[in-house]
Amino acid sequence: MLELKRLEIRQQSFRLSADFAVSAGRRVAVIGPSGAGKSTLLSVIAGFFAQTSGEVLWDGQLLDGVGPGKRPIAMLFQDGNLFPHLDIARNVGLGISPALRLSAQDRARVEDALARVGLGGMGARLPSALSGGQQSRAALARILVQNRPLLLLDEPFAALGPALRVEMLDLVSALVRETGATLLMVSHDPEDARRIAEEIILVDDGVAHPPEDAAAMLANPPEALRRYLG
């Protein structure tokens, strides 16, 4: 379970507060107008940006002071999710060992993960030799081997076309169902949320609201969400 206790984030005139918990294994969309602080919220949870006050806990353990790589978190950013100078297999392998010391068993895991996302046999290629959709798949293969209980997606598929994006979301959805990981996914599009999220965190006007049931919320949007959806 992810807990945000009386979390306050301040940066110059920017302010965001959050005080809620997300149950383990849930798939949650984070929705709100641009500039509201969706990405900042994920950055704080991932450990890239320090909160002003309050606590972030995972399964009752305080995450403060724990480096991003040491948190039980895997994350995909809007771009730059692969090292362009390393081939796909190594990019995925980094998810197992940062020093890339891989046993034969590890290498088999990498190959399995690549096959699982439809990139079987392509491990020797550089990211530049892949299409945008394939690059996203490769990044997801790494998420798979990282096997962390909390997955944060900061709109990694925003640059893909609509059909490809839906395909990726379905893949993500299948992966987290399989691993039982908790998913927090920033999105602009309520359709994305409807497709894979069980709950929605609405970020608006300096507050990240506690998660609520996605279907109910979209069927009968509260005032703040209605303003955003237009």
């Binding site: 909160q51 002071g65 480096g67 790589g69 040491k70 978190i73 980094l94 998810g95």
Partner: protein, 513 residues
């Protein structure tokens, strides 16, 4: 509170910075202590100061004034060989000073090409030694640098403005007044200040072309106080004088200069629509041709003279080559390691410490180390290690200005991804930093290696027949009037300097013009 994670260890950056401070500070302290009990500067010392300021001012003015038409022509003309010409302006930076001076002597010297032609018409002979020779050599080295700085300014003018000027059919005078003059007003003072600061610390040029009471720089006076009088107190006083002079000039130059040092992208040919034809076209062509001849002529002269001397190679050549190659490789390695460590701190203060060697001249450092070592061990025995150390310090600012911005870019682009994957320490170095920094690392190592290969500075204080580098051997041969043997050394040295730069830069995989 979550903290920004440590990359490959900011600590390594702080350690490197402390090391630099010690390596610069301790010799300065030794000089201070020694000068404290010493004498006040005498008349000849003040004369050296006056000469230093005069030659540096003249060199800066001539370099920039002559560079202007060349840079302008490169900026607005497109012609085959333009890339080569731009690359050529980078060559003097890594050209050994002794080699260039020898080339200049072959063209402008008493028995040089020009005097030969003049004699046919009953003119001359002109002598190259003295103020005008020193300034000539400085212009040879720094005019191309000025061309690069000014060209960078020109390239930085958005091409949309030139498009607009072409659309409005502005005459060249208006283009100059509205677009080019405002840029020049910003760039020229920086170029002049940088060249002035560089020329203040001139040693090898003054050593060969200057000398005597009327043409001695402070840097050269330090050497003379050392070698001729073995007056360490006076050397220390002069070193203090030189340090305050160079430090002030270097700080001023850093403040008004806006060049990043890599000069990347200068060979891009940006579109221009306003290149005027007619006599202006001819003038541009003539300017470029003259500059080309001025830069290539001396090198060709060394090459030609060197080839004919290759049959009669001087004794001691092979050990000298061995020493030079080892010193150069070690300097390149240590410079890059220190520059990488300093970059890892990602702090302006630490980077500023890495630029500090600009404020000290090689002979000042040499004096300091000599004072420290002298009571303990015969300093000559450490000639080569001290040379590596001083060369490393001297090359550091240039390497750092190439490496540090590239390092910041890699961390900005991939730092967060590396952090989520817990890439730290050696893993981060091996899988992220080294591969992404290959090109700037190769370029920085090439610069450091070439600068060290051609260096004729501190080795003149410490070196001996048993422990000499190729530039020192060449200088000695010139002093002994064995010009053929010296020329063949020059050719080899030129090949080694350009070769080591080329090797490292190629190893980095991407070449900078």
């Amino acid at each position: 509170m979550a903290q920004r994670p440590v990359a490959i260890g900011r600590r390594s950056g702080y350690v490197a910075a402390a090391l630099i401070l010690a390596l610069l500070g301790v010799p300065l302290l030794a000089i201070f202590l020694r000068a404290g009990g010493g004498v006040l500067p005498g008349p000849s010392d003040w004369a050296a100061l006056r000469f230093t300021l005069t030659q540096a001012s003249l060199s800066a003015v001539f370099s920039v004034v002559l560079a202007l038409p060349v840079a302008r022509a490169l900026a607005r003309r497109r012609f085959p060989g333009r890339r080569l010409m731009v690359a050529l302006t980078g060559a003097p930076f890594i050209l050994p000073v002794v080699v260039a001076v020898m080339g200049l002597l072959a063209i402008f010297g008493a028995r040089g090409l020009l005097n030969g032609v003049a004699a046919h018409f009953g003119l001359g002979p002109w002598r190259i030694y003295g103020l005008h020779g020193v300034v000539l050599a400085h212009v040879f080295f720094n005019m191309p640098l000025a061309v690069r700085m000014i060209l960078q300014g020109w390239q930085a003018i958005p091409s949309e403005r030139f498009r607009l000027a072409a659309q409005l059919d502005l005459p060249p005078r208006q283009v100059f007044r509205l677009l080019e003059w405002p840029m020049l007003r910003q760039v020229l003072p920086g170029a002049m200040a940088a060249i002035f600061a560089i020329c203040l610390a001139s040693f090898a040029v003054a050593l060969i072309l200057g000398g005597g009471p009327r043409a001695t720089t402070v840097e050269l006076a330090i050497y003379q106080a050392f070698l001729f009088d073995f007056d360490l107190g006076r050397a220390a006083v002069l070193a203090l004088m030189q340090t305050s002079l160079v430090a002030v000039a270097a700080i001023l130059a850093l403040l008004v200069t806006r060049m990043d040092g890599s000069g990347t992208g200068l060979d891009r040919a940006l579109p221009r629509w306003d290149s005027p034809g007619g006599w202006r076209r001819l003038a541009d062509g003539a300017g470029l041709a003259l500059a080309g001849v001025f830069l290539i002529g001396p090198l060709l002269a060394v090459a030609v003279a060197g080839l004919s001397g290759l049959g009669d190679l001087p004794s001691g050549l092979w050990p000298a080559i061995g020493n030079s190659v080892v010193v150069s490789l070690l300097s390149a390695l240590s410079t890059v390691v220190v520059a990488l460590a300093l970059s890892a701190a990602m702090s302006r203060v630490v980077q500023g410490i890495g630029l500090l060697p600009l404020a000290l001249s090689p002979l000042v450092l040499g004096t300091g180390y000599f004072l420290i070592l002298n009571p303990v061990i015969a300093p000559g025995r450490l000639a080569l290690p001290v040379t590596v150390l001083v060369n490393t310090l001297m090359a550091l600012p240039f390497s750092l200005r190439v490496l540090a911005p590239a390092y910041l870019r890699v961390e900005a682009d991939f730092g967060r991804l590396a952090d989520t994957l817990a890439l730290r320490g050696l893993s981060r170095l091996r899988w992220l930093l080294l591969p992404r920094l290959r090109a700037p690392l190769g370029f920085a190592a090439g610069l450091a290696g070439a600068l060290s290969m051609g260096d004729l500075g501190v080795i003149t204080l410490f070196g001996s027949e048993d422990r000499q580098t190729l530039p020192l051997l060449m200088y000695r041969l010139m002093g002994a009037y064995r010009s053929e043997a010296a020329a063949s050394c020059g050719l080899i040295l030129m090949g080694l300097s350009f070769g080591i730069f080329w090797l490292f830069d190629r190893g980095g995989g991407k070449s900078h013009a």
